[in-house]
């Protein structure tokens, strides 16, 4: 379990990183925390000639107030998200999801941007980013472009970030005052999600004015349950089950050692109701 040999480069700016990537072409891999990349290299599932470590680019780290949105640097580690005041105030769902990721060591190393670009459908960052209707900032040789979260995830381990491009920032529209919950079903605490449901709601009186629901590990990409979101409008806390039972409609979840697709569909409905109910509580 030792990687093949590779060159290691640690640029200190995005421009420098882009030029290193441009030069290396297909033979480079970006290291953005390394919690997935290093096991992949150690098992020799991938053997890049060059590893470009973004860990020294200070500009990619941290959360700032962008006016109508908060902007999270792609290299911000999970642990910095969990307790960040801006995130908790305006994108509580993300904080709730990120605090369930693996264990403290991994949350100190792993980054939000790294997880998004790796795009493992069992990862916990995609669903809340999707549900919160984030915009992702991607830079490349041709300059900067923005991608809606709904366009970002293409397939299993595949995003719209192209060769030679980098995800630099995640912009999340402020969901100030929205309640949130991330209901994650695992067998042991540090496991990848078997299924998880990300829910955030805005209440009007005792009932739901707006709801956003994201699904983890219910298909090859994170998914959004828009039909459930619509069905929840106007519903009170005791009246969620029917709307949520449709959470798995139209999904094509995987079958694996932890459960088959039927079980995952069943769980999605249960977890959706639990998540929405908890989100309504704050």
């Amino acid at each position: 379990m030792i990687p093949t040999s590779f060159d290691y480069v640690a640029p200190t700016s995005v421009d420098e990183a882009l030029s290193v990537l441009a030069e290396a072409g297909d033979d480079a891999k970006v290291l953005a925390g390394g919690q997935s990349l290093l096991p992949i290299l150690r098992m020799r599932l991938n053997a890049p000639e060059k590893v470009v470590d973004l860990g020294r680019i200070e500009a990619l780290r941290g959360v700032r107030d962008g006016g109508d949105h908060i902007a999270i640097g792609a290299m911000t580690p999970y642990c910095d998200i969990v307790d960040d005041a801006l995130v908790r105030e305006h994108a509580l769902l993300l904080a709730k999801a990120v605090e369930t990721v693996a264990d403290p060591q991994i949350r100190h190393r792993g980054t939000v941007g790294g997880a998004l670009v790796h795009a493992d459908p069992a990862g916990d960052v995609g669903a809340p980013v999707l549900a919160l209707e984030a915009t992702l900032v991607v830079v490349g040789p041709g300059g900067e472009r923005t991608v809606a979260a709904s366009e970002f995830f293409q397939d299993l381990f595949e995003t719209s970030v192209g060769d030679g491009e980098l995800l630099t920032e995640i912009r999340i529209p402020k969901h100030t005052g929205w309640g949130a919950s991330y209901e994650k079903f695992v067998r042991v605490s540090h496991q990848w999600s078997i299924v998880a449901v990300a829910a955030t709601v805005r209440l009007d009186g005792g009932s739901i004015a707006e709801a956003r629901i994201g699904l983890t590990n219910m298909g090859s990409t994170p998914l959004r349950a828009t039909a459930v979101e619509q069905a929840l409008v106007g519903k009170g806390a005791s009246d969620l089950a029917e709307a949520c039972s449709a959470a798995a409609e139209g999904t094509n979840p995987p079958s694996d050692l932890n459960g088959d697709a039927d079980y995952r569909r069943h769980l999605a409905g249960v977890l959706a109701r639990r998540a929405v109910q908890k989100a309504m509580e704050g």
Binding site: M1, I2, R187, A241, G259, R274
Partner: protein, 799 residues
């Protein structure tokens, strides 16, 4: 003895000052292996040319390169007359591979990086053969693992006590249960590892191995390398867990690494990585079982007829110890009436199966306890009551089951008070109040169940262990025993025993384990035998030293040895503490010297005092030095026992399974250190919980292990291990001087049985296959709802 002394190992180990195998051998060449990617195949060709191109490659070996006995199959460690078709592998595969992970080529290189790069450049061509995976497939016998082993049967063993057929025919009630239990594995934090230093000038080998038996490795390696035993020494450094897998020896690497070191005249080392541990060490547990039981109206056993099929993997280096233990220890604390057990140990194209903590007992306990619950259900009786009615009573001890145990000796229980243990357990878990708790939970929409499981564990099997105790002139006491330690706390408990026996301060006693330079005769650490065997051996050795100290001191003080006592390192006259002599002074006197090198030595030199010119300085029957050695060798195993109960909650909608409470009543005889006993129980229960709810080795039909990483092979974290409530009963063993019965595996044995019992109680349908996941429980609910003419309406989510 008997005190909760803090473990003296812990400060060193917990602050990163342990010295494990991989910490040794800086600068040594490192080995890596090309392992089979196929479960069953013939090797057609091996091309190593490309690998030689790499700078830093020192050697590449295939089976063809191995000389003499190194090229022969590995030994069958524990032969048995019923094992008619024992098969073992080669150090490097010869012609055929029989499981994914079997070593085919060994590379030795400057470092592990180069070694693994070289492995990646080696091409092995295979002709694949159909794989035999799973007990059912092996039993079918339509595909064979070894061409010359019909039906894949390594061994078939049947034991019968009484007339089962007659008793069964006469029984008022009979039940048959079909049961399954899955594979798991030891998974120590530290995998295996070997570091060899060959001294070419001396023609001698020092081998370090992360093993549970240094004397076993020494003898095996000396035999394979055709070296005199005197030229081989084996040392175990700190070992990061064993749990059974490291009792197997010699592993191929334990032969190849020293052989390569001798060949190359260089230090060579190999450290197993996690993926290698998954596919090239050992697994355990997998069995299919069929139990038929006959019983009376009161639930008393009249006849028990058990057949089981044991998956022994590709080879049988450790014989049939695991299924023998299942067959015998299945009986637990019960009188079975007439008993017949027959097993078939079957080859499959999977990693070999050798003991894992519990070693066949968890399977046996599971079969028996599932049966007890089924009888209670059938008769409408309380589950604890059914067990109680079948207990062997305290006044029936010793109880001889009439069977042969794993050590070839009678299965004869030495002690135990099962009714008292059950009473303690029922009080601890609140057995009689559970119905009220269940009703309360049901009103809240929650589903809870109570499970129970009882076991008896044969511990402390022979043949022997030794102890050596030496008092230095500084007062330091050196203790050596040959069995190895993997974190159990042997340094602490053996020091406690010697301090008590000898009458010296605990802090003066220093213990060495698993070093053939200090104790050449030993067996190993397995079968919960450390405290029983080495504990008694060092106690006996300490008594030898004590007697000698008293004799020397008695001469010096001109009193009878009977009038002396030793306490706190001082020998003094009983009732006259002023008349005394320090034990370290006795050590000086015990060794007459010609040369002085310090003040205490000067006191022992030839002109230092008066002496009798007519007697030699060392008497005819005496030896110099205040030291002694003795061995403990029992006629049979001791039998510890215990009973566990658990309260489990199953989520009515997601089928999530949570252990709310876990209670243990445990009787390991006299406890040397109750804190260490509890720690052993806690660790054992944690592994048991893993086996009950999480761990399984998932092979596909082609024999690929699908979950060979910690990402996919789930083990419980601290967050999944329940708080464990313990109570102890101490019925001393009459078989050994200290009355110890052994505690190492106790926690693990009944957990799958207990959790199955609790889930069954919560759900109301039988659990016949373990481990069980939420997805499987959910599927079982669907199946039972579909076949139930009056299904319970789908429950609303209480959360």
């Amino acid at each position: 003895m008997g005190e909760k002394v803090q473990r003296r190992e812990d400060p060193r180990l917990l602050t990163g000052n342990g010295r494990y195998l991989d910490d040794l051998g800086r600068g040594a060449l490192q080995a890596a292996f090309v392992r089979s990617p196929h479960a069953h195949a013939r090797i057609v060709d091996i091309d190593i040319a490309d690998a030689w191109e790499l700078d830093g490659v020192e050697a590449i070996y295939t089976w063809e390169d191995l000389p003499g006995r190194v090229a022969e199959p590995l030994p069958v460690l524990i032969p048995h007359p019923a094992m008619t078709h024992a098969r073992t592998g080669y150090c490097l595969a010869r012609d055929e591979v029989n499981h994914v992970g079997e070593a085919v080529v060994m590379v030795v290189a400057r470092d592990r990086y180069v070694a693994e790069d070289a492995c990646a450049r080696i091409t092995v061509q295979y002709d694949t053969l159909p794989a035999v995976v799973g007990v059912a497939r092996a039993r079918d016998g339509d595909r064979l693992v070894h061409d010359d082993v019909p039906g894949n049967v390594a061994a078939n063993l049947r034991q019968e006590v009484g007339d089962v057929d007659t008793a069964m025919a006469a029984a008022p009630h009979t039940l048959t249960l079909e049961l399954a239990i899955e594979r798991s594995a030891c998974m120590p934090m530290e995998g295996k590892g070997v570091f060899a230093r060959w001294d070419a000038d001396d023609g001698s080998l020092r081998l370090y191995s992360s093993t549970q038996t240094s004397t076993g490795v020494r003898a095996a390696v000396a035999a394979k390398l055709e070296l005199p035993l005197a030229k081989v020494e084996v040392v175990t450094p700190d070992v990061g867990g064993g749990f059974g897998v490291k009792i197997v020896h010699p592993w191929p690497e334990e032969v190849l690494v020293p052989w390569a070191a001798r060949n190359l005249g260089r230090d060579v080392k190999w450290t197993e990585d996690r993926r290698e541990h998954f596919v090239s060490s050992a697994h355990e547990r997998g069995q299919l079982q069929e139990v038929t039981v006959g019983f009376d109206d009161d639930g008393r056993l009249l006849a028990l007829d058990v057949h089981f099929w044991h998956d022994n993997g590709a080879y049988t280096p450790y014989g049939i110890i695991v299924p023998i233990i299942t067959a015998t220890q299945l009986l637990g604390p019960y009188k079975p009436g007439a008993y017949r057990v027959e097993f078939w140990s079957l080859y499959t194209n999977t990693v070999l199966v050798t003991p894992y903590r519990g070693a066949g007992r968890p399977q046996g306990c599971y079969a028996m306890e599932r049966t007890m619950d089924a009888i209670a259900e059938h008769r409408g009786l309380d589950r604890a009551e059914v067990r109680s009615r079948n207990f062997i009573q305290p006044d029936e001890m010793p109880w001889d089951h009439g069977l042969m145990f794993q050590d070839g000796r009678p299965l004869k229980y030495d002690s135990g008070d099962f009714p008292a243990s059950l009473a303690k357990l029922k009080a601890l878990v609140g057995w009689d109040d559970f119905a009220a708790y269940r009703e309360q939970a049901a009103r809240e929409g929650r589903r809870v169940g109570l499970g129970i499981g009882c076991y008896v564990e044969g511990t402390g099997v022979g043949p022997y262990e030794g102890g050596h105790v030496q008092v230095e002139t500084s007062g330091r006491v050196n203790v050596a025993t040959g069995l190895t330690t993997q974190g159990q706390g042997h340094q602490t408990i053996l020091a406690q025993i010697v301090a008590d026996e000898l009458g010296v301060p605990f802090d003066d006693v220093h213990v060495t384990t698993g070093d053939t330079r200090r104790m050449a005769y030993a067996v190993g650490t397995f079968a919960s035998r450390g405290a029983v065997m080495s504990g008694n051996a060092v106690a006996l050795a300490a008594r030898v030293v004590r007697a000698k100290a008293l004799r020397i001191a008695a001469e010096a003080l001109e009193v009878s040895p009977d009038d002396l006592d030793i306490a706190d390192g001082v020998v003094s006259v009983k009732g006259a503490p002023g008349t005394s002599i320090a034990l370290k002074t006795v050590a000086v006197m015990s060794n007459p010297l010609r040369y002085a090198f310090d003040a205490s030595a000067a006191a022992a030199t030839q002109f230092a005092g008066t002496f009798d010119p007519d007697t030699p300085p060392v008497g005819d029957d005496d030896e110099p030095g205040l030291e002694g050695q003795d061995f403990y060798s029992p006629t049979q195993a001791t039998f510890a026992n215990g009973m566990h109960a658990a309260v489990v909650e199953t989520d009515p909608v997601t089928a999530e399974i949570r252990i709310l409470r876990y209670c243990v009543v445990h009787d390991c005889g006299v406890m040397v250190n109750p804190m260490i006993v509890e720690g052993q129980v806690h660790g054992g229960v944690a592994q048991g919980v893993g086996g009950a709810l999480y761990e399984r080795m998932v092979y596909d039909e082609g024999g690929q292990l699908l979950n060979a990483s910690f990402m996919d092979f789930l083990m419980p974290y601290a967050s999944e291990v329940p708080h464990i409530e313990t109570d102890h009963l101490e019925t001393p063993s009459p078989l050994n001087p200290l009355g110890i019965k052994g505690a190492g595996e106790a926690g693990t044995i009944p957990v799958s049985a207990v959790i199955a019992s609790a889930i069954e109680d919560a759900e109301g349908f039988p659990i016949r296959s373990m481990p069980i996941s939420p997805a499987e429980l959910w599927e079982l609910r669907r199946r039972h709802a579909a076949s139930d003419p009056h299904p319970v309406p789908v429950q609303e989510d209480p959360r």
